[in-house]
Amino acid sequence: MERDGERIEITISSRFENIELVQVIAEHLCENAGMDEDGSHWIGMAVREAVANAIKHGNKLDVRKKVQATFELNGHDLSITISDEGTGFDPETVSDPLNPQNLMKTSGRGIFYMRTFMDQIRYSFESGSGTSLVMTKNLAKGTGIASGKA
């Protein structure tokens, strides 16, 4: 089922319990769009990681700060934007979790998982308005891991 021009927005406050609210929206939306359960799950996982970062690193767990997620579906093209009210970071300085010296680190795999499960992810930062992450995925092209990225 193709659903042109669909747009869903959800705003949550910065609590870890709210992550799954955004994740289930992602999963349901993908399933409604005809994606199978596994594919929907991996996109939900990318969303989970993005929202967790927005809450933890962006809004630093300040419950008064919001995280906004926008889902846009045009034909098979899904675009997900996750925005927080933090001060941003330099994505260039994020280390590669596959580098042997990072393999045993207890963190630093969130962005890697997003890249693995989505076609593309792009950060943008505007001074005073926090971090915005746009993740895109063509739902017709098959799903994250299974499509041969691993």
Partner: protein
Amino acid sequence: MKATTRDVNGIAIIKVDGKITIGAGDQQLRDVIANADSKKILLDLSGVTTIDSSGIGELVGSYTTVTNKGGKLKLLHLPAKLNELLHVTQLITVFEVYENEQDALTSF
């Protein structure tokens, strides 16, 4: 997350059920493992419903803690999605993983 520990021949089999996600079970997992009575730990993950990068991080941290104490942490019954998450991050090379409890126990 819920963890149930039983002892078989001095090996602590810890069965983990539910979520190991940020703020829900990630630190708990590390505590359960740090407090195990044995240095030989078999982690039965068949009941894990969701895990995220924080949960994966805790598995790695627990492995390091146990190994540094001279112990052994091995994994049993990886759900398919957890298996994939360990694969893409190349962590699967770090862990000894078993599909059969008896095989796992005799390997210690």
